[in-house]
């Protein structure tokens, strides 16, 4: 059987996809478990309420600056309770849980985190009305940040 260049490339890409699939699946389900543990199984809406700020490309995965901002009036009866930050591609997806209060004035915070590899970062916010909202951001990592 002779392959031309195009077919060979397609085969290669296919094989790569298959070999990566179970790996990605396992990591993604870890993240899903974390989200479920956070929400208690409640539905999560992916919408504009939550904004996740992260660099498109992080040269050093050891300190990647990230910011979260949730659109909320932050009054005593309508505020953001908690925000869970997860990193899909880390050996352990948990990054941090931030707790806000009406005293916060705005649901904005930033920190620096470690990223093992190029991946999606997820922020899930719990509002005081019991709804959950989510945002995702992809960060490309040049040098992973989990030591070795």
């Amino acid at each position: 059987m002779k392959l031309n260049r195009r077919e060979a490339l397609a085969l290669g890409a296919g094989a790569l996809f298959i070999s990566l699939t179970p790996f990605r699946g396992a990591l993604a389900s870890l993240t899903e478990d974390e989200i479920k543990a956070f929400t208690g199984g409640a539905a999560v809406v992916e919408d504009d309420i939550v904004t996740l700020t992260a660099p498109e490309i992080a040269e050093n995965g050891n300190t990647v600056p990230i910011g979260i901002s949730v659109d909320s009036p932050m009054t005593a009866d309508n505020y953001v309770k908690r925000v869970r930050i997860l990193a899909e591609g880390n050996p352990r997806p948990a990054v941090a849980t931030m707790y806000f209060s009406p005293l916060s004035g705005s649901a904005e915070a930033s920190t620096r985190m470690r990223l093992a590899t190029t991946q999606n970062i997820i922020a899930v916010a719990e509002l005081s009305d019991g709804t959950y909202h989510m945002a995702k951001a992809e960060v490309k990592v040049t040098i992973g940040g989990c030591g070795g």
């Binding site: 880390n90 005293l103 916060s104 920190t111 620096r112």
Partner: protein
């Protein structure tokens, strides 16, 4: 390890209703517990696992920290200034140490 040193940048004065930004940083290696040392054994986890910010005894902001937060954990957050008082920032280490720092703010 060297003793962790907390640093805080919080305003000393604010107008009523103003939303102020507070920045905090504490020196800490944040050992994840997943890295291996030269002898091939895992280096035990040692991180700051919780941070809280209170103002006049009321909780403003808190974080449960996992090992994925970078060394020398930096946190920036906001507070709505309503009255004069004092911030109390607290960091809790895995080894049981608690680091605190206070900062006064005059509102009005």
């Amino acid at each position: 390890m060297a003793k962790s040193k907390p640093r805080v940048k919080a305003p000393k004065k604010a107008a009523v209703g103003e939303i102020v930004t507070i920045k905090t940083l504490i020196s800490h290696k944040m050992e994840s517990g997943l890295r291996k040392g030269k002898d091939g054994n895992l280096i035990p986890r040692s991180i700051i696992n919780r941070f809280t910010a209170e103002f006049n005894g009321q909780l403003v902001f808190a974080v449960d920290i996992d090992p994925a937060i970078s060394a020398n954990p930096f946190l920036e957050f906001t507070m709505k200034a309503t009255e004069s008082g004092e911030f109390t920032f607290t960091w809790v280490d895995d080894d049981g140490s608690v680091y605190t720092k206070k900062s006064k703010m005059t509102v009005g």
